[in-house]
Symmetry: C2
Subunit: 395 residues, 2 copies
Amino acid sequence: MKLQFLDMGTVTSPRGFLAGAVIREGLGLGILFSEAACRAAGLFTRNQIKAASVKLSQRRLEEGRARAVVVNRGCANAGTGEKGMADAEEMAHLAATKLNLPPEEVLVASTGVIGTYLPLPQIRQAVEEVELSSEGGHEFARAILTTDRVPKEAGMTLELGGKRVVIGGVAKGAGMIHPDLATMLCFLTTDAMVEPAFLRQALKEAVDNSFNLITVDGDTSPNDTVVILANGLAGNPVLTADSPDGARFREALKEACLQLAQLIAQDGEGATRLIEVQVEGALSLEDARLAARTIASSPLVKAAVYGSDPNWGRIIAALGRSGARVEESKVELYLGQLCLFRGQPLPFDREEASRLLSRERVKFRLCLNLGEGKATSWGCDLSPEYVTINSAYTT
Amino acid sequence: MKLQFLDMGTVTSPRGFLAGAVIREGLGLGILFSEAACRAAGLFTRNQIKAASVKLSQRRLEEGRARAVVVNRGCANAGTGEKGMADAEEMAHLAATKLNLPPEEVLVASTGVIGTYLPLPQIRQAVEEVELSSEGGHEFARAILTTDRVPKEAGMTLELGGKRVVIGGVAKGAGMIHPDLATMLCFLTTDAMVEPAFLRQALKEAVDNSFNLITVDGDTSPNDTVVILANGLAGNPVLTADSPDGARFREALKEACLQLAQLIAQDGEGATRLIEVQVEGALSLEDARLAARTIASSPLVKAAVYGSDPNWGRIIAALGRSGARVEESKVELYLGQLCLFRGQPLPFDREEASRLLSRERVKFRLCLNLGEGKATSWGCDLSPEYVTINSAYTT
């Protein structure tokens, strides 16, 4: 059985996962819970200013176990010192009591305004009100959104060791997106049985190839979190790096992350288009990633795409400053099938170029002709609405 | 005699410098000329995609001499391959013929759209029409502007070895500003007599402390150029790194660059306010510069300033991702005199904060309390107009 995407797949699609949420003005609160014990792994922001929730979840994942996540939207609980940490512990404790779990098995995540304290009285009440169900993934996905316009959910199924295994996930993120090791918030679940070290390794690889290649605005948040819970209810033989199905699981996890990552890039604050930048022929994989990510995050490239302006010189300029090795005379630049530059400017059909720039997904391809490195990055265009949204976020 | 700023100081304020320009729809062309032989030094973009004009001027400055600069606005002559280089040489040649100089003594600079060829017929005609005069600096400054709203000029006088010495300068730049070794375009002149190695060293130091600390949008252009011409007509004893007046000359040059750099940041595309970020107590000078520059270039900080929104958490978040060493519990953040954060959020007067954020110059100060490193960076706010300008630059 090949990898199959699920219609309406979400974080509760795998067996034994329940979720629920409360959504009201100024507060969203979601709980994700596994009926069975889980192996768990997480990746977190590299920002040195870490939200209290990040520090707490990071610590709790050291043992590689967790059974629940409680998430709030509206307050990031970052830049909040010792009180922030006590509040995060309190929030985990509230969920643990409700779920009858030791607090050590509950992870916490927060997203929203930085530098304000958690609204604990409202959170206390909301935790009580949450109703968990195996259909609750969709509501959970909606509860954690901030400036996102649409929920981000994915699900897929594959056969591993004769058993049908399901992977589900939800993510949020629309601004402060320039992940370095992780993204805003992403929660992945699977009923596969996975050896902990392999689970962590597969997650790292999936994130490097997805969330770490998207960008909205170049700002890395203090709250970036990707967590995976694996409860083993599918009954497959334990997956390890060496097991025959290991590669397929890795591939499936990467696909799930890729789908969620692209949904985030597409829903960037104020965005009207998804920008895809493929870089080939770089001297190394690292160079390819650097070049692709730099171009996708250039405000000038993004603004030109917003205006459907074929101002391709900005792409070449961003490439040149990216730090990736470049030889101008060898560079080729394509917009869709249109070649715009091959060591020098080529004549091109401007109307056709503008048409390609007006599509929902705008694709640039660069051949550096220096080596074998290739990577793709995703971003979004930059609209006046981005500024409007972000000029009045707390007021 | 202390350092004195000149009213209406410009690039022709020092003795023996003439300039002139032609300004018309789509084309600006300026020529700067020294009546006497000059020592010259330059700093150029680190972007690997370099404009033909940059490559040519860089080569010509290897000998440390030049007597004229010809600059066009409208076309950057970048990403233009071999033809672009031939065109740059042709442009220098045209000016050399007019000025009766060997072409090797003429530098070239270009700014405008990347990836199109120089309009040589128009340039040929414009070079012929330019009239040089000792008052021509102001017109030269206007001729090289692209999306800049105002010309950027500076002049100052000081006494060195009993002689009155003048330093003048003009700059342009409003977008693609995130200099790495240099800025958009800046031409400095002085009638001081300066030893070539010291001239280069003083220029590097001045640029590191000024142009390299400003940012508009994080994009480094292929055309960044800072050039200084010193014709020695003031008759002072030759300045060297060891001469008693060396430090005063360095200081004066830095002041001239600082003034021009701040004018650029203030006139950033769409900008309504200058943002000044002072970082103190960093572990090192490099850390201080990194932190200050990262905060001043954060699109989310910039958008919050545009909206006078005291969303200071974004400043802490940008600090945390800057790469500079940070300990959250030691960080203090001030907006003007208002302390917003000291390891944890402090209560503050939101109305007063919004008022401070509405000033023409918005000042943030961060004390990291880790060491002695300090630096100041300048940027501008991010407005919807930035996007509007940049979404239709070539169309």
